[in-house]
Point group: D3
Amino acid sequence: MPYVNIRITREGATAEQKARLIQGATQLLVDVLGKNPQTTVVTIDEVDTDNWGIGGETITARRKQGK
Amino acid sequence: MPYVNIRITREGATAEQKARLIQGATQLLVDVLGKNPQTTVVTIDEVDTDNWGIGGETITARRKQGK
Amino acid sequence: MPYVNIRITREGATAEQKARLIQGATQLLVDVLGKNPQTTVVTIDEVDTDNWGIGGETITARRKQGK
Amino acid sequence: MPYVNIRITREGATAEQKARLIQGATQLLVDVLGKNPQTTVVTIDEVDTDNWGIGGETITARRKQGK
Amino acid sequence: MPYVNIRITREGATAEQKARLIQGATQLLVDVLGKNPQTTVVTIDEVDTDNWGIGGETITARRKQGK
Amino acid sequence: MPYVNIRITREGATAEQKARLIQGATQLLVDVLGKNPQTTVVTIDEVDTDNWGIGGETITARRKQGK
């Protein structure tokens, strides 16, 4: 019954990559805790770079500085 | 003062349906715990079917299989 | 496949009341959106009154003022 | 290492305002708890007014009533 | 910069198992999206079985029924 | 109506510090976006150091290494 939420910046993750994140996170819960994959839920939130910050700066600003 | 977050797949819920979810969740907190509805907050997140998985598969993939 | 998270202050909700919240939230998703209850997940977070604020004040402080 | 999530209604916050929220929330954690800003993450979720409710009503409905 | 939140029922996960979840989730983001592990944050929430429901029932109730 | 969730490691934040976080986050939303403080909600989650990771390691492990 686990619930996993993965938050990433919206920078072009493909449907195939998101499917791999969902598969991998589900398998991780099976491998480490023996959870039932059939009731393991994974959601992915893609957040605009204007809406994500680290170090007090938006990712938009950091990308412009080449960080 | 409760806060309720409802996450569903983005598959065409109407404004009227979302209003009913908000009304129903608020009333539930009033009925069960006697909470004040005026400070009960409900948010609804609609998540793309590529970004939601169960059983290690995306909802997009499951819909194609008729699940 | 909905996921519902209910956050309330930790002020003595009983196991029976929490079971009613889970049942009621699940039924709401069935009634309004026709969701499958078997894959509807509800979690309840009970948050200490020192850790919850509204109006810029903690609930602990508000309770002392009779709010 | 703190993680801050700010949820607001989607009603036209500008990139500059969102940058100020990120900067201010990060500074708050530095000032109050001495946290390292370089590993402090802030995300902002903008939620449609149809998807946000208080007092059992959507914000869309409340705006129409001048609330 | 990803942020991953893993929610599981509080049923005795060990510190070593939780460390493996954190390591595995971080590696997943590196492998699939090439994210920097140094700024990838993972949190684990352990939720009481009275506070988690699926199918409209608490996990406490389901465990008693041998589910 | 904003909702702010602040997640920190459980390492001894005092009630007074948590009250300052709540006050500061509320004021930030007033200052930047002109939000009404009376309906601004702030919650603080304190997460065990075994349950928080960065760089693929738990905070418990990092503290032992003097990080």
